[in-house]
């Protein structure tokens, strides 16, 4: 069965253990989670979870239904086929010396990323964008040597007037 990356948005009750319930479900049912990002939503006591899951349409449909069975999960939407804005934030600490620093700054500028910290032999770059932008910048900076990288995982939202619930 052909697999594809799906973006799932879940609104969940802001209660202890909810994250555990979700991750435990993925583990025990063998669902393949690529990325997960959690934060508050615009609704009181409700958090928004964005999950990227790799699987066939049938498998991802199971993921959605199983997530909905969790009592503390309020709503689950697969927004893969919708018109969406997806963003990820990454911090990359890159090797830099007097010879390479200006070249790095040029690349960072082209990507409309930012240098947020400079030290003796490194610069730290902050980039936001969709996955391909973050990946491409990562590849370009890799030649200078990456000391450390931190990524948030994707968050996503449909375009237009739709609301969470």
């Amino acid at each position: 069965m052909a697999t594809q990356k799906h973006t799932i948005v879940a609104l969940v009750m802001d209660k202890p253990g909810v994250f555990n319930r979700i991750s435990s479900l993925f583990r025990r049912r063998g669902f393949n989670m690529e990325s997960i990002a959690v934060g508050h939503s615009e609704l009181a006591n409700i958090s928004r979870v964005t999950i990227v899951v790799d699987g066939s349409t049938v498998q991802v449909e199971q993921v959605r239904k199983q997530l909905e069975k969790i009592i503390d999960v309020v709503k689950v939407t697969d927004i893969t086929l919708r018109d969406t804005i997806t963003r990820e934030l990454a911090l990359m600490k890159v090797h830099a010396n007097s010879n390479t620093r200006s070249e790095i700054i040029q690349i960072v500028d082209i990507f409309r990323a930012k240098i947020v910290d400079v030290a003796g032999d490194s610069v730290t770059v902050e980039v936001t964008g969709d996955s391909s932008k973050v990946e491409t910048l990562f590849k370009l900076l890799k030649v200078f040597g990456i000391k450390e990288i931190a990524r948030t995982g994707y968050i996503a939202m449909t375009r237009g007037d739709t609301a969470s619930l």
Binding site: R21, E61, E68, I71, D72, V74
Partner: protein
Amino acid sequence: MKMTGSQILCESLIKEGVDVIFGILGGSILPLYDTLTQYPQLRHVLVRHEQAAAHAAASYARVTGKPGVCFATSGPGATNLVTGIADAYLDSTPVIAITGQVARPFIGKDAFQEIDITGITLPITKHNYLVTDAGQVAQTVKEAFYIARTGRPGPVLIDMPKDVQVDMAEFDYSTRLVMPGYKPTTQGHPSQLKKAARVIQDAAKPVILAGHGVIIAEAYDELKEMAENNQIPVITTLLGISAFPGSHFLSYGWLGMHGMACANMAIDACDLVIAVGMRFDDRATGKISGFAPHAKVIHIDIDPAEIGKNVKVDVPIVGDVKAVLKGLNKYIEPKQNPEWLSHLEALRLQHPALHIGDSDSILPQYAIRKIWEATEGRATVITGVGQHQMWTAQYYTFDRPNTLVTSGGLGTMGFELPASVGAAVGRPGEDIWCIAGDGSIQMTIQELATIVQENLPVKIAIMNNGYLGMVRQWQEMFYGKRYMATPLACPDFTKIAEAYCIPAINIKHRQDVEPAIQRAIEHPGSFLLNFVVEPEENVYPMVPPGASLAEVMETPRKEVLKWPRKSTL
């Protein structure tokens, strides 16, 4: 009025209509047990192992339709519940498990008898709670019962720290439940009902596949109406047995690994499967790619996640089985199906369900058939797991609704005795027969003490073949007869029974079977029958693991019993 957490819990249980609790106490639940002395209307049944408390509560729930409640202490008490909770989870049974926990300041400190039971039971409960405030107790209990009994039922665990049990709070049970994440669908969508009705109308060779959901929803009449009005044969799953009268002329037995050959063949030949409250378990479907290869599938279930999980479905209907069948029956024009029925009738005659060989020794099938005769098929029958379970499902014909209590999804050996406790408490005055395996019963045999202490008239019939029989059968068939770890040295079960003051007899010859069963029936209390049966008898029919239902292997024996029939065409 201010009350302790324990009093609030007891008051809440009473509000939920609870009148019996199965459990064992210990350090962390002592305040709650002390409070039970103030509530004589809450009967406490003391079991001898917490696993039995969970099984008994589940069995009580299955025979009464009300959630069953069990209590255990923290640590080992709580972990001992796990098997019983898992069993209830897989068989969609409403159980409320209440566990003591160490006091709040000790949580997370590896205190004596502290265990993270909410973490442990997370994948085997429908939901669970750690109550951290006495003021939350009432609300939690109310939610727990609502979750356990509605939608697809299941177990809910409430973990109560010892200091929460004694803290004071206001008792108020009138608060409305606010659960935005839990809204079970009960009514089938009208357009899906109409679509299903058309598909049923167009089918030439339909079968109904009835599961446990029919029993849970008590949709017996609706199921019968659909079957009779449209002349559709009914096949059940193992847990669906007794959802439809076994001797009804449209009953074609149950399907799956040890189901009737004619049922499996009918599934193979049909052009429409109307699956009602069942979940296409692998033991029921056989090889999934070979399941009902010519059929469309209508799947009615209250759990949306079951639809399309194992089998591709043409018409899904999410809803309560009773409501959906009621709605569906309105849309279907009554119809006759003489050709299909006569084809199936021929299948049934060529592949009869019941075979009992002629033998001086006792064949387990014979003993079970005689129990069926002696109880006039009216008993509530509880089994463990293994060969005796399959023979009971085959050779006891269930005509009364909801009269077989067996462990399906988890397949828990040792289920029978504790489940008999729950069934006997839930159905006082009725015939309760525990059909046990010699291996299975030894896993929970301590519950004989509970039967005695509570004076429960459970008739126990052990099919004693000196083996872990089902595993031995697999070793014989698939592992070159290498009987690794299956021969059992059994105790003299009659002496064990006597030690518990339960009268018991050994039965070794065929002619002694009927008088022994009569003696057990005539005795007013519990009675144990140890049937020493043919040791290497196998369960047939059998669909070998990995094979499709059509590849069913039938018994090599010749002699055949007549299929029990009550009504006719």
